[in-house]
């Protein structure tokens, strides 16, 4: 009997060793995430329950570019957030997987990790994990069109061995890691890596003055002048007043009415875009929107929340007039007299050369390395069958 017991004991010990190592493996903290931030950029604030890991970022990148994440399998996050457009698109307003048009345009995801309030105007939308549910399951309008199809989505992902492996390595401790929460956590982790801060403006600010043209430098002076006041709403390292990062005492969230409309002379905005008033229901919040980052702004035309200004020159004209006047039609009104307009939008005069200088400065915020960084590109391009998002034409 004894030898047999010994054998059993040996197997038990070996099993214990294996299990022990397994547990050790799971308990070993993963290598600390390295941000590789541009000079002068602070460390993003990351939710405590979704720390950054390379495994989550890899998984999130695959999900971001995967058309299986739409109800009809034609659309991915990347369909409206295109790398060559700084993860915005070229449409005035977003168009979803079923062709439905969103009231507002796709926003650039550049530096979205630093935004404590997401989308054009939602003071309650505070995390990328939470925000991902809107394009996935929202139906007013339909974007990815997954409402009611979550089980179908999980089944599609489970059927792909690559996903089984990626989910297991990102969320290995869980018995069934393909969950909605893990999908949103992975996508959010990938989005937090989309950091853009190596533009000519940045290179000039950090030791290479020749990176910016003379025109752009003159435009920079204008941008940061009390005469134009651009920087009040588009200030700081990310050129927006809505900002948060690790080490700050508090997040800042700002919404401004820029005098884009003044329907009926009472501050009216087109009904589909009431702005902050949608949430606060205060009439003086009508038309207030978040100032987006201006990084890569030369690539994200057309402009404003509804894509109603086609060019940067047009945007400058709008601000120079202290608000846009629409002379006829349902939106007629003198935006410069909008009663809820920001106190910083009072109009200014620019010479023709100054206008060109200001545009040159805005172009100096284009980070071309961001647009081609292979870490952010479609990971499905090299695989068959191809699952990636359709390329923009």
């Amino acid at each position: 009997m004894r030898p047999r017991t010994a054998v059993r004991g040996g197997i038990a010990a070996a099993l214990a060793l294996v299990i022990g190592f397994g547990l050790l493996g799971a308990a070993t903290p993963r290598a600390e995430w390295r941000w590789e931030l541009p000079p002068g950029f602070p460390v993003p604030r990351v939710p405590a329950d979704n720390p950054m890991t390379a495994e989550k970022v890899t998984l999130g990148r695959h999900l971001f570019y995967d058309t299986r994440l739409s109800g009809n399998q034609t659309f991915a996050c990347a369909s409206c957030h295109i790398q060559s457009r700084a993860f915005a698109d070229a449409k005035p307003r977003g168009v979803g997987s079923t062709g439905e048009v969103h009231p507002r345009g796709s926003m650039s995801l550049a530096n979205v990790a630093y935004s404590p309030a997401l989308t054009w105007v939602n003071p309650n939308m505070k995390s990328l994990e939470q925000q991902a549910l809107v394009p996935m399951f929202g139906e007013e309008p339909v974007e990815l069109g997954l409402a009611g199809k979550e089980q179908e989505l999980y089944a599609r992902l489970r059927a792909d061995a690559r996903y089984r492996a990626m989910f297991a390595s990102a969320f290995g401790a869980e018995p069934e890691p393909i969950t909605l929460q893990n999908i949103t956590r992975a996508i959010a982790s990938f989005q937090r890596t989309l950091i853009s801060g190596r533009s000519p403006y940045d290179r000039a600010a950090h030791g290479d003055p020749s990176a910016m043209s003379v025109e752009a430098k003159r435009g920079e002076q204008l941008f940061f002048s009390e005469r134009l006041e651009c920087f009040h709403c588009h200030g700081g390292f990310n050129f927006t007043g809505t900002v948060d990062h690790a080490g700050r005492a508090f997040a800042e969230v700002e919404f401004h009415n820029t005098g884009l409309y003044n329907i009926g002379g009472r501050g009216g905005f087109p009904k589909e875009n009431p702005g902050l008033m949608d949430f606060t229901q205060r009439p003086d919040d009508e038309g207030k929107m978040k100032a987006p980052t201006l990084r890569n702004v030369a690539l994200t035309a057309p402009y404003m929340h509804d894509g109603s200004i086609p060019t940067l020159e047009g945007v400058i004209e709008h601000y120079a007039a202290g608000g846009r006047t629409i002379s006829s039609g349902p939106h007629a009104g003198d935006g410069s007299r909008n009663p809820n307009k920001s106190e910083f939008i009072n109009g200014f005069e620019l010479t023709a050369r100054e206008r060109l200088d200001l545009v040159a400065f805005l172009h100096s915020l284009t980070d071309s390395s961001f647009l081609t960084d292979p870490r952010f590109s479609d990971p499905w391009l090299d695989t068959l069958p191809r699952r990636g998002a359709r390329r923009p034409r």
């Binding site: 003071p123 309650n124 994990e129 139906e139 409402a147 009611g148 969950t179 589909e272 229901q281």
Partner: protein
């Protein structure tokens, strides 16, 4: 004989438990719960006098006498209490089935995933099941909606029935309380998505909204209701009786998505008994009791 160390620990644990086992029966006897009875509240969706069914065409709806075809109908019910003849309101303890009911919340699902309801589910649910102290109950009160403290939690981790994505109201960090989608014969979409609006951000960076200006939860009360016999009818025709389904206010949601500036909500909120944009609350006309309803209204 040598005990295996693990076996020894087990034995020690059993010994440690013994005093507790001795005490529990006593306390159990000391506060014996009053006997309880199972109670099922039965609902039925109707369009006027006809039972609700996905894909069926219903004529004469609203002020423009529209013909409509529904494609979705679900709603959340909470805070169910049974009324006694002497005016007490006794909570109905809901069965926890891991699917339709959790804590004090239940989802009713009148669609069956067929025809234009294809984004729905085959499973339907037209009852609320629970128990209450044995007694005579003469009425019922409940709320249409998800309680505030449960409405704004992380959508990605909610237990059923709050995990149903078709009822997510993600942009407003909450849930739709009622979802009733339809299309008119003239090709116009007409939906009701009832939910809280005017939700103000909390100071904390991660907390859900601190409060919503318009909770939009409907309190329903029927002073005469016998759960064993009566049915609560949810009547689409009554809900839309004063609405013109052919004329959506331009540049607003098709029908009413609870927007406080969407004029199409005015007549619908009136039928729900909810205040709207300065108009005070009135009696609700959406739900009514049909005495002995099961005999006359067949569920399709």
């Amino acid at each position: 004989m040598h005990h295996h160390p693990f076996a020894r620990r087990l034995a020690a644990g059993a010994l440690a438990l013994t005093p507790l086992l001795a005490v529990f029966p006593l306390t159990g006897a000391a506060r014996r719960e009053p006997p309880r009875q199972p109670i099922t509240i039965t609902f039925a969706a109707v369009v006027g006098e006809q039972p609700f069914a996905c894909g069926q065409r219903y004529a004469d709806i609203g002020t423009a006498k529209s013909s409509i075809t529904p494609s979705e109908f679900r709603m959340f019910i909470s805070d169910v209490r049974l009324l006694t003849a002497d005016g007490r309101a006794v909570p109905l303890a809901l069965e926890q089935d891991g699917m339709w009911q959790s804590d004090g919340l239940a989802m009713l699902d009148f669609e069956d995933g067929t025809g234009p309801c294809s984004n729905g589910t085959r499973e339907r649910r037209t009852t609320i099941v629970g128990d209450a102290p044995t007694g005579t109950y003469t009425g019922i009160t409940f709320s249409i909606g998800v309680p505030f403290e449960r409405n704004h939690r992380d959508l990605a981790t909610q237990p059923a029935p709050l995990s149903v994505t078709r009822m997510f109201w993600a942009w407003n960090s909450g849930h739709k309380f009622v979802r009733l989608d339809a299309r008119t014969e003239t090709g116009k979409n007409w939906v009701l998505h009832l939910g809280s609006t005017g939700c103000m951000p909390n100071e904390s960076a991660t907390a859900p909204p601190a409060q919503c200006a318009n909770g939009n939860r409907v309190t329903v009360r029927f002073d005469r209701f016998d759960a064993a016999r009566d049915v609560v009818l949810a009547d689409v025709a009554a809900l839309y009786a004063d609405s013109n389904l052919e004329e959506n206010q331009p540049r607003t949601a098709a029908g009413c998505m609870s927007g406080p500036t969407d004029g199409d909500c005015q007549a619908i909120f009136a039928k729900l008994g909810l205040p709207f944009n300065g108009t005070p609350a009135g009696p609700q006309r959406f739900l009514r009791v049909q005495a002995g309803g099961l005999r006359t209204v067949r569920t399709p």
